[in-house]
């Protein structure tokens, strides 16, 4: 581990020639992704484009078929403490018998020794994170009493106590109220301004330009990636979404669309 030289250490996330297949069918095909540190990046693409798979592979939850991944120059298993992960809210059973502050403390488990139980210090960190997301009053509540937006804030607080350099969030704005969405975005932007890298699987094309400064458009392959002004173009979106997108922009010259693109459901 110590002898190995870091590969592409100047990039927060470096992915090269990555292919991931489920049951012989490629979900991600030969992709290269490079995200510099200190940006807030959105990963967008139609359903089945491999967005969640990309994040799960980076976190080591899914085994790649080919290719390699580096986080700040380290392979994922050596970068565990540098990354934080916010799964989709629906991934857990919110009727699980535990409290809000308990869930946030889980963010410190990776830093505790194998047999150490979380103690006072972990609780204090969790309380700080809860007040940062405006949930300190809920610390001792049962998690089954939370609304969708509150659940998301708790998950975000858990990611914050991980002290990571790179945060991965899987659809954090899905099914939350407008107030929470604004609060979550403000918090993420604040984290970015502290120098952290935020990578978000996002589904709402309308807000991409307002929230993010970096964009990866995915559809099994990488359609385009880079700073928002260069990448968020009608041409790129049409390439990724095909007929499933209706651009309200009459000018299809490939310039950044003025009108808001809307993903057509079904």
């Amino acid at each position: 581990m110590k002898r190995e030289k870091r590969h592409e250490p100047d990039l927060a996330l470096h992915i090269e020639d990555l292919t991931v297949a489920y049951e012989g069918k490629p979900v991600l095909w030969d992709i290269d992704v490079n995200i510099p540190p200190g940006v807030m990046a959105a990963v967008i693409g139609p359903n089945g484009a491999g967005k969640s798979t990309l994040i799960k592979t980076v976190l080591g939850l899914v085994k790649p078929t080919a290719g390699h991944i580096c986080i700040h120059g380290y392979p994922p298993r050596q970068a565990l403490k540098r990354v934080a992960y916010v799964p989709q809210r629906s991934a857990v059973d919110w009727d699980f018998p535990t409290t809000v502050v308990d869930v946030v403390m889980m963010g410190r488990y990776g830093h505790l020794g194998w047999f150490r139980w979380p103690g006072k210090r972990e609780r204090r960190r969790a309380m700080d994170a809860l007040s940062a997301v405006g949930m300190e009053a809920f610390a001792n509540r049962q998690i089954n009493q939370l609304s969708g937006g509150q659940q998301q804030r708790v998950f975000l607080a858990r990611a914050m106590v991980q002290d990571a350099d790179v945060l991965f969030l899987d659809e954090p704005m899905a099914g939350v109220d407008a107030t929470t969405e604004k609060a979550v975005v403000a918090l993420l932007q604040e984290l970015r301004d502290q120098g952290k890298t935020i990578i978000v699987v996002h589904h709402d094309l309308q807000t991409v330009r307002d929230y993010f400064d970096w964009l990866v458009i995915l559809n099994v392959r990488v359609v385009a990636q880079g700073p928002i002004p260069e990448v968020y173009t009608g041409e790129n979106l049409r390439k990724a979404y095909g007929g499933r997108i209706a651009l309200l922009d009459p000018d299809s010259s490939g310039e950044t669309p003025d009108a808001v693109p809307r993903e057509v459901v079904n």
Binding site: R77, M106, G110
Partner: protein
């Protein structure tokens, strides 16, 4: 019933039931929360062919061989389910069902083969189907105690890992926990617990010991550590009460009685537990309805007083009854108790009358504001 505890056999069986209740409540809590309640059922049924194979190898009803055989086939079935659900499109429930029925069929075939061929020593092998608690020997308690102790040590040492893997396996994987290893470990421990219970409860009913105590415990508490302790306690209670009941009444099979006691605990918990119980939610609904009736009544009286331009306008009860189509006396008496209405008299030949108090008018005005606000919010 207590004098039964002086009996040596009853002592042994009771101690066995205590150990079984502890280990199954402890490990069952994790199985139930991981929504793998059926896993216990599959493991128990898959133990039957192992019981027979153990018997065939030993050539006699040697408990060590039988338990070892049971453990091996139960673990094979669990691994089969894990591999099949990971590498094919078959879902967990279908995989568990397939493993359960196939291995139970193999077990029954082997059982009938043994009964047809083996010597007299095969006697009572079918007692593993429904359990035979009285056959528990003091030496078995060492095995049961060892398994219980190992399970408790495992859970105590790896508490945070097991909790995290149960609550949020994806996140657990992202911080580097070996989710697959931990899940296999939990499954193997449940298989051990099942094997512990075979002798006493039998393969068919063993799953109830894994599921019932945790389900009952979950109703009463809202912290994982409390749930685990309460599930262990409930497992012990069902075991001990079941054993004593069946020992006190002739011709009662112990295993089924233990399971019935556990089921009774579940039923009581589902009905009575505060917050989650059925009766609790009925009570809440009933209170809500009562309060709606009272609020409506206040508004009606307030409007009538406004209409008659007399704040203390007495309204005859029979008029209110006909307006609501039900007897309103109980609603008015409750409002009176809260100080919102007072009885009033109007004309001697008329029935009882009621008038709003100042507090009642205040309450009614607040109610009307709330209603306006709710409508504006829509």
């Amino acid at each position: 019933m207590l004098e039964l505890l002086g009996n040596h056999t009853v002592q042994t069986v009771t101690l066995g039931a205590v150990l079984l209740g502890m280990v199954s409540g402890l490990l069952g809590s994790f199985a139930v929360l991981r929504q793998q309640s059926l896993l216990g059922d599959t493991l128990a049924h898959a133990a039957l062919p192992g019981v027979c194979i153990g018997f065939l190898i030993a050539g006699t009803r040697h408990l060590g061989w039988i338990m070892a055989g049971a453990l091996v086939t139960a673990v094979i079935a669990a691994l089969f389910v894990q591999v099949v659900t990971r590498y094919s499109r078959i879902k967990m429930d279908a995989g568990l069902g397939a493993a359960l029925s196939v291995s139970f069929a193999v077990g029954v075939v082997l059982l009938t083969y043994i009964q047809g061929h083996a010597s007299a020593s095969q006697g009572g092998l079918d007692s593993f189907l429904f359990g035979q608690a009285a056959a528990t020997r003091p030496s078995d308690l060492w095995f049961m105690g060892g398994v219980t102790l190992a399970a408790m040590a495992l859970v105590a040492l790896m508490w945070k890992q097991l909790k995290l893997v149960t609550f949020d396996p994806l996140f657990a994987g992202s911080i580097g926990l070996r989710v697959g290893v931990l899940e296999t470990l939990l499954t193997a421990m449940i298989a051990l617990a099942v094997v512990v219970g075979l002798q006493m409860v039998g393969v068919v009913l063993m799953t109830a010991m894994v599921i019932a105590p945790p389900v009952a415990a979950r109703q009463w508490v809202s912290r994982l550590e409390h749930m685990v302790f309460l599930a262990m306690f409930m497992g012990v209670v069902s075991g001990v009460v079941g054993v004593l009941l069946s020992a006190g009444v002739p011709n009662l099979a112990t295993g089924p009685v233990v399971v019935l006691v556990a089921s009774a605990l579940v039923t009581l918990s589902l009905l009575l537990a505060p917050g989650r119980g059925v009766l609790w939610s009925w009570l809440k609904l009933w209170r809500e309805q009562r309060s709606i009736g009272q609020r409506q009544m206040l508004v009606t009286l307030h409007k009538l007083a406004e209409h008659h331009e007399d704040p203390y306008y007495p309204v005859e009860r029979s008029m209110l009854d006909s307006f609501y189509g039900v007897a309103t006396g109980h609603i008015l008496r409750r409002l009176q108790a809260r100080g919102f209405v007072v009885p009033a008299s109007h004309m001697r030949q008329e029935g009882p009358h009621w008038a709003l108090t100042d507090a009642g008018h205040n309450e009614a005005r607040q109610e009307l504001e709330r209603m306006d606000w709710n409508q504006a919010g829509v």
